[in-house]
Amino acid sequence: MGFEEVRFEQDSEKALRNKSLQKALVNVTNRFRSARNKASEEVPDWEDLRTSAREIKKETIENLDKYLLILEESVKRTGGKVHWAKDAEEASRIIVGIAREGNVKSVVKSKSMATEEIELNSSFEDAGIKVVETDLGEYIIQLAGEHPSHIIAPAIPKTKEDISKLFSEKLGIPHYDKPEELTKVARERLRSEFLNADMGVSGANFAVAETGTIVVVENEGNARLTTTVPKIHVALVGIEKLIPHYEDLSLFLTVLARSATGQKSSTYVSFITGPKRSTDIDGPEEFHLVLLDNGRSKILASEETRESLYCIRCGACLNNCPVYRKVGGHSYGWVYSGPIGAIITPQLMGIDKAPELPFASSLCGACHDVCPVKIDFPKVLLELRKNVVESKKGGTRVLERLGIRLWRFTVEHESIYKITNKLSYYFQLPWKGSNGKLNSLPYPFSRWTDQRDFPAVAKKTFRETWKEIKHEAG
């Protein structure tokens, strides 16, 4: 994804005008939301599970250096290879290098946000290696040449008519109307891709330090095929995906599935520990774990925002976010969207690349309420807002800075505060409409009054009224 700068306001307005996107967003987020609510209410100690999950993640992230080395040892012990990638470019170079060494012509991929993050597909294509996405949603998105707009439902904006047209154009087949027919076509095409592929690339939902096990959660079976059929399996995993102990998995798999889709468990949960052993009938001959930093250690260094790394990518914050539900994933400018995108994109890409994102929230806190690891989104957003104001980009906010200065000077002095209110009362009169409210104000307040009335400053403020009512009996 050619990433220069996030343009949230511009892109969100485009999304708001897109009627079919608006319809799709309501449908999908409502479905996920009610499924998640039901699934969490079924578990009597749900809140305790969230607390435990947070505690484990906190302890892990605080001791990430130690656990990463344990993970490396464990993977080596089982016959796998471990690679460390400091950024996107290095990660792509390592993975394309593994492919070249194995004389790989064709790659199948299961859904992975980390590979989206490093734009792995374009690196493969540049190297002349064919790469095919095998998650149905990702397959559709790849055919359309687009990018995912939701962590677990990447093809949200696409209707079945869109997909029918797309398949017909790209795969040279007739128009099919029924989702079953379209799925069947994709399944047939993908099956041959699996059988011909020399390498499978996956992400991971969890990497278990003590056993070196990679856990992949999915509903289509494509990740299982990706990680078992080709002779080489590469897993690209962000360093924050680590959990210390195998026994922690039951907790995390429970909160992940229920938060993401409302399922008790995903249809497929694959536990992959090293390459094929001598006693195994099948499985890949080589297993490579590529550990990706790409800005994560910068987040780790910030005590205030470190909890951003607790995320297990369930997508519940997206489905419950009143902003995401209107603007969709692409408005957030990069692979991660919704509240989690608003907090990690500015941190991973640099705050100057996405200065709008920490402000792209009403701070309503619905995300915090549903997060399975209780990330305090409002708190992190507020911290990032502070960072924006203090950054280079923040320096360009002349009007806002002036406004804040004036406000501060006013509220620091009661006498000035009172005079300001009095002056505002008379100053506002030209804008006062017949309904007693202000109907149109100059910029920047016009951004309010274009579609809403603004209340008028009262003729008598409360403090003036107080003098009259303070001695009144109750």
Partner: protein, 257 residues
């Protein structure tokens, strides 16, 4: 409707938000009326202006800290000057109350002395409905109003302070009121302070959904506990000439037959 035999005299210092002071003084008056009717001594410290939230939420934490410190010293001193009474701070806003009770902890996390003041004030500070229900132990304040009411959960009151049932109980106890819960009653109205002018189109699209829910509820009156939300929702209702009345909970509770 009177207090259950209070052991010590009870005094409330009202914390009037800058929005209420400047734009909606009737909300402050109503709150005073309700509290006095319940036998509470009410006082207002005129030096108070703002809690600092506008700057804090916009990322200007240094400016916010200066204003918050001013707020803190005014109220800390006042409460310490009244040793013989049970003193409280009561505010007609979930948002400004949570600024003091939740976010001041963050603002002053590196100043132990100020943090002590924050904690002293925090335990004495209550949002208006919370004060009635948990301190005065009252849900029926003797109000009367004829109408169908729906309630909008303001985000900070609901999620930062965890207050959900109290305001509903208070509304339902008003004589003559029929209460109707709307769909998505806990969804943000799109206000979010400066969010509403930074991203007006997104803000209004959230507001559209809220207004649809209000209309579908069949209510003729919308009640909430924060004037921020109500000036946003009310601003669109009046612009669109939708005949739903907008009222702060304090105003409702001050109504008499």
């Amino acid at each position: 409707m009177q207090l259950n035999n209070p052991k010590r005299p009870l005094k409330v210092y009202i914390f009037i938000t800058c929005l209420v002071d400047t734009f909606f003084p009737e909300v402050g008056e109503s709150m005073v009326k309700v509290l006095k009717a319940l036998g509470v001594e009410v006082d207002f410290i005129e030096e108070q202006t703002c809690c600092g939230q506008p700057a804090f939420n916009s990322g200007y934490q240094d400016d916010a800290r200066v204003v918050a410190e001013r707020f803190l010293s005014i109220f800390d001193k006042t409460l310490r000057d009244e040793p013989g009474k049970d003193t409280y701070i009561v505010c007609p806003s979930g948002s400004c109350t949570s600024m003091v009770k939740v976010f001041y902890e963050d603002i002053f996390k590196n100043s132990p002395e100020l943090l002590n003041k924050v904690r002293h004030i925090s335990q004495k500070t209550f949002e208006f409905s919370e004060f009635l229900v948990t301190v005065l132990n009252t849900v029926d304040v003797g109000a009367e109003y004829s109408g169908v009411i729906t309630y909008h959960d303001s985000c900070h009151l609901l999620r930062e302070l965890g207050i959900k049932d109290g305001p509903r109980e208070l509304i339902k106890s008003v004589k003559g009121v029929e209460f109707k819960e709307m769909e998505l009653h806990d969804a943000c109205c799109g206000f979010g302070g400066t969010f509403s002018i930074k991203f007006p189109k997104v803000s209004v699209s959230m507001l559209d959904e809220k207004i649809e829910c209000i209309i579908n509820s069949g209510a003729d009156t919308l009640v909430s506990s924060d004037m921020g939300c109500l000036m946003n929702i009310g601003g669109a209702l009046s612009r669109r000439k939708i005949p739903v009345k907008v009222m702060h909970l304090a105003e409702l509770l001050a109504k008499r037959g």
